[in-house]
């Protein structure tokens, strides 16, 4: 049973007042999510009761901490449908997971003249690691275009994959458009062409049921902090066939088996890729977040977010000068509404709605190439999670109207005035 009032009580921050009398309305969930009290409590419990370094100690607390840490690997395995625990690697965040892959896969089998295929809707974290690899290996980085309906252009994709394509690395769900890509279909194309397929699930894992084996990709990466867990924990799920052959990314303690004055040998999976003391407390709290999400149910979360998105899109129709980026069909875009308008800059919108306690994002959302493709320098983005409500959306729409009113009054620029007045009939003076 999805009880929104009960859920909201789990998040202490939702009681916070941002400006005079204005409670927080948090619509910046694509950037990071808020944390339920159980997750926060778990951090305190760890530091107050069994803070110890893991794997090497023989004392009681070291054993407790090691167990708690490794238990989370088990939880992640079943949460994301990985095959084995040793194919689940903890990193710092999605970005680090992608850097690990670009470096290590790059060393393993990418050579001069090879191609890496990305898409126009990627976050910088799935572009820059490949640019860095390009500067090392003299390879080509190509981008699958998006269609006018803000979806991946699957036809172009098939043309762009060649025998030279070594790696395809794509987002599961765009952090700007909300578009959910057809990963299963692309996995088949990748397989048929012998390319390794990486999926960036940072925006999908928190919001929809994601199953690594069902998707059929080779690697999947995501972050704890966007799914009710703490910052500082990322996940990399992969196939042992590759992970075993891949050279280590970071060197140090934990990732070795034997070290001599001459050389070293690497530890088994997954620890081969977990150099140094990991983020023990946050990994353990991430496990609590996974339990929390599974208790509510990812299907319920997805359904509820679709409802919110549909409701918001309907309410936003009254501003018909708004340009909303994203698929029309709610099933193809989830929880994210990115928009621009001819008069009020996204920064001004964000400042104005912030006065009502509403947190949205304004800017390029770490996707500058996509902004260029959309032909805007910046956009505003509202992104929802399961603790948001329709009432909050109503207030957001009210605040937006205020923002538009603020700027439309006595506009002397006839062009702008015309654009606004033609479409916004109920503009009042402030």
């Amino acid at each position: 049973m999805f009880d929104i009032n009960k859920i909201r009580k789990d998040f202490p921050i939702l009681e916070r007042k941002i400006t005079d009398g204005n409670k927080l309305i948090y619509f910046d969930n694509a950037a990071t999510s808020q944390k339920p009290k159980v997750v926060i409590d778990s951090l305190v419990k760890y530091y107050e009761n069994y803070n110890a370094n893991i794997h090497r100690g023989v004392h009681k607390m070291a054993e407790e901490a090691t167990c708690a840490y490794e238990e989370v690997r088990q939880k992640v395995k079943s949460f994301i449908g990985a095959r084995n625990e040793d194919e689940v690697i903890f990193t710092r965040n999605t970005t680090e997971s992608l850097n690990l892959l670009a470096y290590s896969l790059g060393e393993l089998f990418v050579n001069e003249g090879d191609e890496i295929l990305l898409s126009e809707m990627e976050h910088h974290s799935n572009i820059i690691p490949w640019y860095i690899l390009r500067s090392r290996k003299k390879i080509k980085v190509k981008f699958i275009p998006i269609t006018d309906n803000y979806e991946l252009d699957y036809k172009s994709l098939e043309q762009l994959v060649t025998k030279k394509t070594k790696i395809i690395s794509l987002t599961h769900k765009s952090n700007v458009l909300g578009t959910v890509n057809n990963i299963k279909k692309i996995a088949q194309i990748a397989k048929a062409n012998g390319a390794v397929f990486i999926v960036d699930a940072a925006q999908s894992a928190p919001h929809l049921s994601v199953d690594f084996q069902d998707l059929g990709c080779d690697f999947l990466v995501f972050s704890s902090h966007k799914m009710c867990g703490p910052t500082g924990v990322g996940v990399l799920v992969g196939r042992r066939e590759y992970l075993e052959k891949m050279p280590p990314f970071l060197g140090g303690g934990e990732m070795i088996r034997k070290v001599t004055f001459e050389d070293f040998t690497t530890n088994d999976l997954p620890w081969k890729f977990e150099a140094g003391t990991p983020n023990i407390a946050d990994v353990i709290a991430f496990g609590v977040a996974i339990d929390y999400l599974q208790n509510i149910g990812l299907e319920n979360i997805y359904k509820y977010e679709c409802e919110l998105t549909e409701y918001a899109l309907d309410k936003l129709k009254q501003f018909d000068f708004l340009k909303i980026y994203g698929a029309k069909d709610c099933n193809k875009r989830a929880g994210i509404i990115t928009f621009s308008n001819p008069v009020v800059h996204p920064h001004d919108i964000a400042t104005i709605v912030d006065q009502y306690g509403i947190a949205i994002r304004a800017g390029h959302h770490c996707a500058q190439p996509l902004m260029k493709k959309l032909n805007v320098s910046a956009t505003a983005r509202a992104s929802f999670y399961f603790y948001n409500t329709k009432e909050e959306i109503d207030l957001f729409v009210y605040a937006l109207k205020k923002a538009f009113d603020y700027f439309a009054i006595g506009a002397c620029n006839e062009l702008i005035k015309g654009k606004i007045n033609a479409k916004q009939n109920a503009t009042t003076t402030r």
Binding site: T19, I352, H364, S377, C412
Partner: protein, 155 residues
């Protein structure tokens, strides 16, 4: 229920700022270019292209400023005000104004008194720390132009 009054906002979006945003000054083309720079805030995508034309008889005086680009109301209004206030000033005076404005924004004590005209309205930005860089983008671009740096990134 959320509070419906916005007293703070009136400090930020003074009518004069909105005026400049709707109808920015300094858009007329120049007959010659003595200094130029493009300023950009990669965090928000705001861009300013600034060119200065100096007096032909006395090249220490700014005859005209051309400014274009895109950005939020604060950065566009600030650029528009810059074009107004720097016109006819010597380079030394212009630098002084720029320094003065930056000091006000960052709450530094300043003993000098300079008449900054419409720019006074920009001072409300102080209450919105994340927006200060919007207000200063055109000014930093101006300072960098004088230094001969043609591309500036501010964050």
């Amino acid at each position: 229920m959320q509070n419906k009054t916005l007293p703070q906002l009136d400090d930020l979006y003074k009518e004069i700022i909105l005026e400049h945003y709707r109808n920015p000054h300094g858009r007329e083309p120049l007959s010659k270019v003595n200094y130029q720079a493009e300023g950009m805030n990669p965090l928000c995508g705001d861009e300013v292209k600034l060119t200065l034309q100096l007096d032909s008889e006395n090249d220490k005086k700014i005859e005209k400023v051309h400014i274009e680009g895109h950005g939020c109301s604060i950065s566009v209004a600030s650029g528009s005000m810059l074009a107004d206030i720097l016109k006819g000033k010597t380079i030394a005076e212009a630098k002084e104004i720029s320094k003065y404005l930056k000091e006000i924004m960052h709450d530094k004590i300043n003993d000098t008194e300079i008449d900054i005209g419409d720019l006074e309205a920009l001072c409300g930005v102080k209450k919105f720390p994340v927006r200060i860089k919007c207000a200063l983008l055109p000014w930093t671009t101006f300072e960098e132009a004088l230094l001969g740096h043609e591309h500036v990134e501010i964050s």
